[in-house]
Amino acid sequence: SAVISQKPSRDICQRGTSLTIQCQVDSQVTMMFWYRQQPGQSLTLIATANQGSEATYESGFVIDKFPISRPNLTFSTLTVSNMSPEDSSIYLCSTGQGGLFNYGYTFGSGTRLTVV
């Protein structure tokens, strides 16, 4: 299965600033997903990122707040823009091969973001 390198692993940021999270996959993957996870809570899908097309955002998430780039099949970034304390969370990227019956997702190690 794919291996994902995610960075930074954690950061403490001032409100109003932006943070870009990077995920590098060791193989080409069609789809990448970005999740948010509050400590002790479930994973909430932010958006799906396909190479060469606009990311598809879930309800409650917008491109202006969470712009995503997917320049090639091994890399993606998520930016958390104009941060507020409510954005404090763990952000995770994951891979998913395209199609209907792909197997389990591989997750990056996560970025623990604290906004002060």
């Binding site: 994973l43 598809t56 995770l92 395209g98 199609g99 209907l100 389990g104 591989t106 996560g110």
Partner: protein
């Protein structure tokens, strides 16, 4: 939107006791996956169930998928301290993008936090 309900939220057991977590969807799932997340870690894929009524085993773990493909369970026999963590089910729902291509998208349950007392 699609939702997957998972219970219980917490489970505390003595080492050696059994443990079960349940997931339920209001709509039929394409398949269901199970993940384990250790404290401070990221979710790690355990298994995928695809067929109606499917049962799979991994050592002390038994996974079931309901006949209607709307519910699933994970059962751990004789828990050990290494089983500690949060267990998530994730139901796959099919959707089409703007170009008409079908994709599967995972919706995670709330997770069950398992603690095992030695």
């Amino acid at each position: 939107g699609q939702q997957v309900m998972q219970i219980p939220q917490y489970q505390h057991v003595q080492e050696g006791e059994d443990f079960t977590t349940y997931c339920n969807s209001s709509t039929t799932l394409s398949n269901i996956q199970w993940y384990k997340q250790r404290p401070g870690g990221h979710p790690v894929f355990l298994i995928q169930l695809v067929k109606s009524g499917e049962v799979k085993k991994q050592k002390r773990l038994t996974f079931q998928f309901g006949e209607a493909k709307k519910n699933s369970s994970l059962h751990i026999t004789a828990t050990q301290t290494t089983d500690v963590g949060t267990y998530f089910c994730a139901g796959r729902f099919l959707f089409r993008d703007a170009g008409g291509t079908s994709y599967g998208k995972l919706t995670f349950g709330q997770g069950t936090i398992l603690t095992v007392h030695p």
